[in-house]
Every structure is written in structure tokens, then in C-alpha cells.
């Protein structure tokens, strides 16, 4: 009885304390979460490399020019290792079918006017592909220039990375207009990057029929900070264009 009375008397402080406890629980819940690597772009490049070194090198690159379209180059890329296990990658990354997995060591292209320095030689080092397996578990940072990999695979790795990055930044438009119009639809938009990962341009290839969504999609792509291309990716290209199908939906209405 007296306990009940005590409790009752202190109900104000008890309830305030309760609020504080809730806040604490909140903080703890957050700190308990296993620390996932942040998807900041700086490390991105390294992650891609690690990844590419993981699978045993497919067909060893031909010694010299002969730009053999390696048949195995289309092999499915395992999704980037350290990405959080969210259901992010719903559909496998699709590489443009005619994206030539061109290993040509001599594939520099004249840089488009917009991208000044960017030209890089894809697989300049013709170093033998042997150390691949050993390199795999190695510490990421000091990794020496990697063993040559099929460019397509490296490019796909970059695309996967790009996808994960955009996944992490995507948002449904907010504001009074969007709240009232509740737009849904798919924007097919493109992003043009130079080799440094600098945004050169963005555009809408196919509109969602909603200006709000089209603008949001462009803003999403335009405002990003993108990683530089791995040296071997997109060989011979000063810039590269990436197409996204951004599908905006609203829950509870379909």
C-alpha cells in the first residue's frame, strides 16, 4: 500500500524518468547496431578492386593487342561484398549487351571536350595475373596496382557500386506539392560522369509524366558525389553514361 502510495506520489518524476529511459534505449539501440562500413565514396574504389580480385581470374588476358571479346566476361558479378545486406540490389546489374568487354591495352579515346585530363589506359600493366588469389585477402589500402582483370567485370563492379550509392541517397519527394499530387511513375534518367567521378551532365531519357518526379530524379543524380572510375573500368572512355530506371511508388495505394 505504502509502496503504491510512494509510486503515486512520484508519478511525475517517474514518468519523466521513463521518457529519459526511452531516449536512452533509443541511443543504445543505435549504438548496438553492428557498425557497417559507410558507403562513402572514398573507399569505394578499393572495394571494387578487392571484389574483382576475389574470383579467380577468368581467361588470362592475351599477351598483346588482340582484343578478344572474352566470352566469360559477361559472368555474373557477385554483389559488392561490404554493402549492407539490405534488399538493395533487387535486380541484377545489367550491363549493356553491346558493352564490349574490351581489354585492349591500347584503348584510350580522345577525351570529350568536357572531360579534360581524364583519359586513362585501361590495363596498362601487362603484369601476369598470378597474384590474384593471394591479393584477395590482403589489406585494402596499400594494395598495389591490381592484376589485370577483364574490364567488363571491373566496370560492372563500378556500376554495382554506383547503384548502391544511389540506393542509399534515393528519397521520395517531399513538400506540399508532392504531398498533394502523390505522383507515381518511373523516370528513365541518365548520369554522365568523367573518369574522376565528376558529374558532367544529367538528363531524362523517358519522363514519368510527372514534373515533380522528373525533377527529383535529376536532383538525385546531379547532387551526388561519385567515386572515380577504377582505372580499368570503361576502357578508353573519358566519360561514361549511366542509365537508371527510378521507379517512384507510394505504399498503401496499390
Amino acid at each position: 500500500m505504502s509502496l503504491a502510495l510512494q509510486l503515486f506520489r512520484h508519478r511525475d518524476s517517474a514518468s519523466t524518468a521513463g521518457t529519459v529511459l526511452l531516449m536512452l534505449a533509443f541511443a543504445v539501440a543505435i549504438s548496438l547496431k553492428p557498425h557497417l562500413p559507410s558507403k562513402v565514396q572514398a573507399e569505394t574504389v578499393m572495394e571494387i578492386r578487392m571484389l574483382e580480385e576475389a574470383p579467380p581470374a577468368p581467361p588470362p588476358p592475351k599477351p598483346l593487342p588482340a582484343p578478344t571479346p572474352a566470352p566469360a566476361a559477361k559472368l555474373q558479378l557477385p554483389s559488392p561484398l561490404p554493402t549492407p545486406p539490405k534488399p538493395a540490389v533487387k535486380e541484377p546489374t545489367r550491363t549493356s549487351p553491346n558493352l564490349t568487354p574490351n581489354l585492349a591495352p591500347s584503348a584510350p579515346s580522345p577525351t570529350p571536350a568536357s572531360a579534360p585530363i581524364s583519359t586513362t589506359v585501361p590495363a596498362v600493366s601487362s603484369a601476369p595475373a598470378l597474384p590474384a588469389k593471394e591479393a584477395a585477402p590482403a589489406k585494402p589500402v596499400e594494395a598495389p596496382p591490381p592484376a589485370p582483370k577483364p574490364a567488363a567485370q571491373i566496370s560492372d563492379g563500378y556500376i554495382a557500386k554506383l547503384r548502391a550509392y544511389v540506393q542509399g541517397r534515393k528519397r521520395y519527394p517531399t513538400g506540399r506539392e508532392a504531398s498533394l499530387a502523390k505522383p507515381t511513375g518511373t523516370v528513365r534518367a541518365w548520369l554522365l560522369l568523367n573518369r574522376q567521378g565528376e558529374m558532367q551532365d544529367v538528363g531524362v531519357e523517358r519522363s514519368s509524366d510527372s514534373i515533380i518526379l522528373d525533377s527529383e530524379a535529376l536532383k538525385l543524380l546531379r547532387s551526388g558525389h561519385y567515386p572515380a572510375f577504377p582505372d580499368e573500368a570503361f576502357p578508353g572512355q573519358g566519360t561514361h553514361k549511366f542509365y537508371f530506371d527510378l521507379d517512384y511508388q507510394r505504399s498503401g495505394e496499390n
Binding site: R11, D12, S15, G18, T19, L22, I30, L32, L36, V40, M46, K90, E91, P92, R94, T95, N102, S106, A107, P108, S109, I117, T119, T120, V121, V124, E142, R163, V166, R169, Y172, T174, G175, R176, S179, A181, K182, T186, R195, V204, D209, I211, D214, S215, K219, S223, G224, D231, G236, Q237, H240, K241, F242, Y243, L246, D247, Y248, Q249, S251, E253
Partner: protein, 799 residues
């Protein structure tokens, strides 16, 4: 670093090779694939947060959060955990309504919309949240705590905005059924049917829902009884043109809760209206204690009969939105609406004195009410203030994108026909009212015309022309949003002679209030996770229509009609204006999002009852300025092992900047209010919500702390802080036969049965100025009583 050098080396090497080798062909484009973005959900802060990136502080309650709450929850209850929001409900279910304050502004100083259409009362801007959409059909509730929405259709918002958005019809044919049961004979049955996409072209879809709810009052006698219909249409006329339409119909008959003084509450926390029916006397004066005279403050005598304090109301609201994309740069839309409302409220228990036919009275005086042949009685009657509103309006908008500009321009116009009367009807000795809606069986004057204690017609024509330009700079990381609107309202007020005070003769008066209002917003994404934002916006609120009433004095009648009178205008009232300054920072992390906002609101010419030097009387007038400063924090986590959380913290320092012009003994006298806190604006508020969702289980515990708040302008009386806890739990059963997502839900409000009081004060006239009753506007404040613990369960299923 190492890597960068390598890249550089390679790049340099590449340059050499480039000059040597001919161009090789490589595909210059890749597919990244489909990325799905879903607009709402439980992904952040238990559904109490979305990823904002605008220039204003703005809070959102998503469908995920709405679905967890009790099915009858009204929008005020749902908004309560957001930063800045101080919401209260007169009972746990939300069926009786409640009040809302944000940054010191009362709900009748904020702009409310449903699907874009304004729903504040067209005369006094009051808001009745219990009338609005069934929560099952609501997809989103948003609030801008202080900044004006330039494109919103408001003339009565010196504070922020609240918007409700209905869910559209679903693509699949089906429906939803919910049955809720709880304490106090609570029940709500909800059924919704969706047609799914119709026809060959699958262009149109419809839904319709009906609900019936009832719950007893937690103290005293009586109940809430609500019938509600929602319907929606979505029709994609072509790939560029879309029509959406929504209908809302509400029919409610509620008994009122009695407000009590602190002393009354201490003596009897359940003090309420009585169930003793006042009895008619065979003849003579019924305006005596123990008959129709009442005293709700409970000091002497007894309170009114609960059956004569009812709130019957009927509304419908039709909204539509026709949107057409003209080309890739231009979208036009038209958003018409029609609001209708009819009802009465307050305590209708009253007495009327009969009169022998007398030509020096309006209409020869009140006739024989009780039919006893003698016209000398004072008879107990049911008399209420009836309001009927017909309010059509439309907003036209153009959304134009060119280069880095996104221009939104538009025009809003509405015409509200607002009829306010106060007729009376008879009651019997068993508590039966001849017509609680006061639309028949009405008492007449000796000349056969209707008795009216008030008889007004106000035509309010509101318009707003607006344009905002969202300018994107620095790769869309910087947004600058200048905006301007020109808002005006014209009130054409007609007073028809009635027996009300100062209303004895016909007169007409028109007043216009208008103002250009500017806004400037800015947001800058410093890095991917970090954004800063800020804005300055101006708001205005026109005076209520009742400031145009009660101007008649020295009226005389001959042959039952007006022969002479004087008009004594209560003039010179200006609109209230406020300037809202905000600045803040948002963090968008992998695990949680957070925002912090600093704000200041300069509020000028607040309208309240005070001493008006122009007329030398105590009437609605601009009583002075106030300044509110503070900060609002919020934090919402993403689910981590099923756990997620939301929390908010609000600090508000509101200061009245001048002394209050009052009267004492009929003479102007000021009250020392300068430097005092604004009423019902707690310095501290906090909320926290922790949720655990795992497979079919979900449980959320939500706490809200409301700090000490004053209830008189002179700060002599205040209410103690309180914290309430609510528990919402659910279990999703496996699909069974045609039943999809059958769900059992448990909702407990005020888990620890905390006792507390809620301020009963609107924005102006009914704020008690001081406890000293010798001042005009002084007296003892009365309060609503916070609802005790309340438990309900529900079963819902889709099919």
C-alpha cells in the same frame, strides 16, 4: 593517397598512349537498372519522419504510423509526437475533438487543409479534427511548424499549416474491414471497398468506405456517436492528365465534456454535467436555481443537464484535382472543392421570457412558448448557436520548369456563405428536445417570425495569388526559394435584427483585409548526410467575422419593427501578422536521421478581447505583440534488428511584449503582461517512441512530456507538467481464405493513468487575462480533464 598517385600515373601514361594509338570503340553507356523508391512507410522514426530536404521545418506522420494508432484517432492525436506540437484530445478515442498548439499558435491561427482544400471555419477559423477523414483512409498528415506555405489557401493562418492527405483507391479489387471494441462501450466498425482498376483501359479506380463509431464519455453522462463516409476516385484520363476526387461525409452527435476549474477538479475530478432533468414549473419563473438556471463552475447550484449540452454536426467535403501535363516543362492543375457544414454546439440549456404582444419590442416580443395561454412565463428552452456554411472554392496552379528554375504560380479563390443563427426549441420534463438540430419546431415571436438570439450572414471571399521559384544551384545542392503571395479576404456581413446583444437592427457592413506576403527559403547540402536550411516567411490572419457583429445600440421599435438605432462600429481592427525565422540542420545517416531547428516568431497585432480605445469599450481588438523563440530537435532511427525509435524535443520561450489593455469598473486599465509567457505554451516538450517489430509482431511505446504552461496572460495560474504513455501493439495473422493480412491490435492510451488538465483556450477572446475578476476578461480559467487510461482492441483484415 597511394591510390590517387597511381591513378595520376596511369592517367599520365594514358595521355602518351592516347597520342599514339587510334581511337578504339567502347560502349559509352551502361544500364544501372531499376531502383524503387517507396514514398511512405515505417523505415524511419516509426513512421513519424520522412527524409525532408526543403527549406522549411516540416513534419510528416506517414501511413505506417497512422495504421498503428487506434482506428478513431484524430489528426491532432497523430501529430502529437512531432516537434513543436502540443496537441490534446478531449477523450482517448479522439471522437470528441481536441486542441492543437504549435509555437504558441492555436489551431484557429493555423491553416488546415484536407487534400488541399481549407477546412478552418470560414468565420472564426476554428478546426474540428473529429470530423475529418477516417484514419484508415489517411495516407499522410503533414505540419509546417511555423513557415507559411505560399501556395496554401489560407487567410486565417498567422501560424503554420497542417495538411491531411487521403489515400487513393487501390489498383486491386478488394477492401478492408476493421472492428474495434473497448472500454466505455467503445466500438467502431469500418468497411471499405475498392473497385480496382476498371475497364479495358484500366484507367479508373474507385473506393468507398463507411464507418460507425460510438463511445461513452469517461466522466459524466452521454457519448459520441459518429457516422462517416469517405469515397475516392482516381482516373488517368490520358498519360498526361489525371483526375482525382474525394468525398468526405461526417454525421456526429456528441455530448460535451464539462470544463472545470482547478478547484473543482481537486474536489471532484469527475465533475461533469448532471443527469437531473430540469423541470418546468406549472407557471412562473423557471430561471431559478434547481430549474433551468445552471452553474457549470460548480460553486453554487448545479451544472446544466447533459442532454442539453450537445454538439450535433453534419459536414461534407468534396475535393477534386485535375492535373494535366502540357509538355515536359509545364503542368497545370485545377483543384476545386465544396465544403458544407451544419450544426450547433455549446450548452443549449437556456430560458426565454415570454412577452405579451408589444409593439415596442422586436416582432412584438417572444410568443407563448409553453402554450399555457399566459404570456408571462420565463420558460426553459434549448437554444443553440447554429452555423451553416456553404463554401465552394478553387485553386489553379501552374508548375513550370525551365533551366534550373521550378516555378509554381497560382490563384485561389473561394466564396464562403456562412449563416449563423441562434434559434430555440422546446424541451419537456423528461429531457427530450423537440429538435436537437434546431432545424424545425422552433420558437416564434408574437408576429410569427422566428425567435433568434443571433442572426448573421457573412459572405467571405478569400483570394490569394502566389508565385514561388525554386532555384537550383551548385549541382542541385543549393536551393533558393523566393516566393510572394497577395492574400485578401473580403467580409460582407449582414446583421438581421435579432434579440441578441447589440443585434437589434438590420445592418450591413463590408471589410477587406489584404496583404502582400513574402518568403525566402534556402537549403544547402553540405555533404551527402548533412544539409542546412533556413527561411523567413510572413503570415497573416484576418480578423474573425464576429468583430463585425454587435454594433447596434440605442435601438427602439414601433409596431414590432425598428424605428431608430445607432451603429457603434468596433472599427480599426487590423489583421494579425507574424514573421517566422527558421534555421536548421538535417542529418541523413545510414542508421538514423535527425534535425535541429532554431526559430523565432515575431507576432504582431494579436486579436483578442481587450480595451479598444477607438470605441472605449471592451471588444475584440489588436491587443499587442509577442515574440516566441526556441528550438526543435527530432531524431528517427531506421529499424535495427527490429528496433526503431523516434524522439523529439521542443524548447519554446514565448514572451508577451506589452501590457494588456483591459478595463476595470468600466474604466480603461492595463494589466502588467509585458515579459510574461504566452498562455498554454510550455517551455519544454519531449516525445519518445520506441518500437519493436519482428515478423508478425509489432509493439510501440510512445511517451509525451508536456511542461508547465501558464493559463492566464498575467501568469498567475499555470498547469503542472505531465507525461503520458501510450502502447500500441499488433499481431498479423497468416492469410486465411480471402482474408489478407488479418491483424489483431491492442491500443492502450495513458498507460499509467496519469491525471492532468488541458487548457481550454482559443487564440483570443477566451483566454483569461487575469484571476482578478474585477478586470474585464478576468476570472477563473476552466480546463478540460485529460482522459484516463483507455484500452481497446481491434481486428482488421484486407480482402
Amino acid at each position: 593517397m597511394q591510390h590517387k598517385q597511381t591513378t595520376l600515373a596511369l592517367a599520365i601514361a594514358g595521355l602518351f598512349v592516347a597520342s599514339a594509338a587510334p581511337l578504339a570503340f567502347a560502349q559509352q553507356a551502361s544500364e544501372v537498372g531499376r531502383i524503387t523508391i517507396i514514398g511512405e512507410g515505417d523505415r524511419l522514426g516509426n513512421g513519424y519522419m520522412v527524409e525532408e530536404d526543403g527549406t522549411k521545418e516540416r513534419g510528416t506522420v506517414t501511413k505506417a504510423a497512422i495504421d498503428k494508432a487506434r482506428s478513431t484517432a484524430n489528426p491532432f492525436q497523430l501529430l502529437n509526437v512531432l516537434p513543436g506540437v502540443n496537441a490534446s484530445s478531449y477523450d482517448a478515442t479522439g471522437l470528441f475533438g481536441g486542441n492543437l498548439r504549435v509555437r504558441g499558435f492555436n489551431s484557429d491561427q493555423m491553416g488546415f487543409t484536407i487534400n488541399g482544400a481549407p477546412v478552418n471555419d470560414s468565420g472564426n477559423f476554428a478546426v474540428y479534427p473529429q470530423e475529418y477523414s477516417d484514419s484508415e483512409n489517411l495516407c499522410e498528415i503533414f505540419v509546417t511548424q511555423g513557415a507559411a506555405e505560399t501556395d496554401a489557401p489560407h487567410v486565417g493562418a498567422s501560424g503554420g499549416n497542417v495538411g491531411l492527405v487521403s489515400c487513393g483507391p487501390k489498383d486491386q479489387r478488394g477492401g478492408k474491414f476493421t472492428q474495434s471494441l473497448g472500454q466505455l462501450n467503445f466500438h467502431k466498425t469500418f468497411i471499405r471497398l475498392d473497385t480496382g482498376l476498371l475497364g479495358e483501359s484500366k484507367a479508373a479506380k474507385l473506393f468507398m468506405s463507411y464507418s460507425k463509431s460510438e463511445v461513452d464519455k469517461f466522466k459524466g453522462f452521454g457519448k459520441a456517436d459518429r457516422d462517416h463516409v469517405d469515397a475516392g476516385l482516381e482516373w488517368k484520363i490520358s498519360s498526361d492528365t489525371k483526375l482525382t476526387a474525394n468525398l468526405l461525409y461526417n454525421h456526429a452527435v456528441n455530448n460535451n465534456f464539462m470544463t472545470v476549474t482547478k478547484a473543482q477538479f481537486a474536489q471532484n475530478p469527475s465533475a461533469d454535467f448532471t443527469n437531473v432533468v430540469p423541470q418546468h414549473l406549472a407557471a412562473g419563473n423557471e430561471n431559478v436555481v434547481a430549474n433551468f438556471k445552471y452553474d457549470n463552475t460548480g460553486v453554487t447550484g448545479r451544472p446544466a443537464y447533459y442532454g442539453y449540452s450537445v454538439n450535433p454536426f453534419e459536414n461534407y467535403l468534396l475535393t477534386a484535382r485535375l492535373e494535366s501535363r502540357i509538355n515536359n516543362n509545364l503542368t497545370l492543375s485545377a483543384e476545386p472543392y465544396y465544403w458544407y457544414g451544419y450544426g450547433t454546439g455549446g450548452t443549449e440549456q437556456n430560458t426565454l421570457a415570454e412577452s405579451a404582444s408589444n409593439g415596442t419590442k422586436l416582432g412584438y416580443g417572444v410568443g407563448n412558448i409553453n402554450g399555457n395561454g399566459v404570456k408571462t412565463d420565463t420558460v426553459g428552452v434549448y437554444r443553440g448557436s447554429v452555423t451553416e456554411t456553404h463554401r465552394p472554392g478553387i485553386t489553379f496552379k501552374a508548375n513550370y520548369v525551365v533551366d534550373n528554375h521550378k516555378i509554381l504560380a497560382g490563384y485561389w479563390i473561394e466564396r464562403a456563405r456562412h449563416r449563423q443563427t441562434q434559434p430555440a426549441t422546446t424541451v419537456d420534463n423528461n429531457g427530450n428536445v423537440a429538435n436537437i438540430w434546431l432545424d424545425g419546431s422552433l420558437i416564434t415571436l408574437n408576429d410569427g417570425t422566428l425567435y433568434q438570439g443571433r442572426n448573421w450572414l457573412t459572405i467571405s471571399t478569400g483570394t490569394s495569388a502566389f508565385v514561388t521559384d525554386t532555384i537550383s544551384l551548385a549541382n542541385d545542392r543549393l536551393q533558393v526559394v523566393p516566393g510572394v503571395r497577395y492574400t485578401s479576404i473580403k467580409r460582407d456581413f449582414t446583421n438581421y435584427a435579432s434579440l441578441g446583444t447589440g443585434a437589434g437592427a438590420d445592418y450591413q457592413v463590408s471589410r477587406s483585409y489584404s496583404k502582400p506576403l513574402g518568403s525566402l527559403g534556402l537549403s544547402y547540402k553540405v555533404s551527402d548526410p548533412l544539409q542546412v536550411f533556413g527561411n523567413i516567411t510572413q503570415n497573416m490572419r484576418a480578423p474573425s467575422n464576429f468583430v463585425l457583429a454587435g454594433w447596434v445600440s440605442s435601438v427602439t421599435y414601433a409596431n414590432g419593427a425598428v424605428s431608430a438605432y445607432t451603429l457603434k462600429p468596433n472599427d480599426g481592427i487590423k489583421e494579425e501578422t507574424s514573421t517566422n525565422y527558421e534555421g536548421g540542420v538535417r542529418y541523413t545517416g545510414q542508421d538514423f536521421n535527425a534535425s535541429a531547428t532554431l526559430f523565432q516568431v515575431d507576432f504582431k497585432n494579436r486579436i483578442a478581447q481587450g480595451y479598444n480605445p477607438n470605441t472605449g469599450s471592451y471588444t475584440d481588438f489588436n491587443v499587442g505583440d509577442s515574440r516566441t523563440r526556441g528550438f526543435e530537435l527530432q531524431l528517427g532511427s531506421k529499424p535495427i534488428h527490429g528496433w526503431s525509435a523516434f524522439g523529439s524535443l521542443t524548447y519554446t520561450e514565448s514572451k508577451i511584449l506589452n501590457d494588456f489593455p483591459s478595463m476595470k469598473g468600466g474604466v480603461a486599465a492595463t494589466l502588467a503582461t509585458s515579459g510574461k509567457y504566452f498562455p498554454d505554451t510550455p517551455q519544454w516538450m519531449a516525445s519518445a517512441s520506441a518500437q519493436y517489430a519482428n515478423g508478425p509482431w509489432l509493439a510501440a511505446l510512445t511517451a509525451k512530456y508536456v511542461g508547465k504552461r501558464y493559463t492566464t496572460l498575467t501568469n498567475e495560474e499555470y498547469l503542472d507538467p505531465y507525461t503520458t504513455f501510450d502502447l500500441d501493439a499488433g499481431y498479423v495473422l497468416p492469410n486465411f481464405s480471402v482474408l489478407k493480412k488479418p491483424t489483431l491490435r491492442l491500443n492502450i492510451s495513458n498507460l499509467f493513468n496519469k491525471r492532468y488538465l488541458i487548457a481550454n483556450s482559443g487564440s483570443g477572446s477566451n483566454i483569461t487575462t487575469t484571476l482578478d475578476a474585477t478586470y474585464s476578461g478576468g476570472g477563473t480559467p476552466t480546463y478540460y480533464v485529460g482522459a484516463p487510461r483507455f484500452t481497446s482492441v481491434s481486428f482488421s483484415t484486407e480482402f
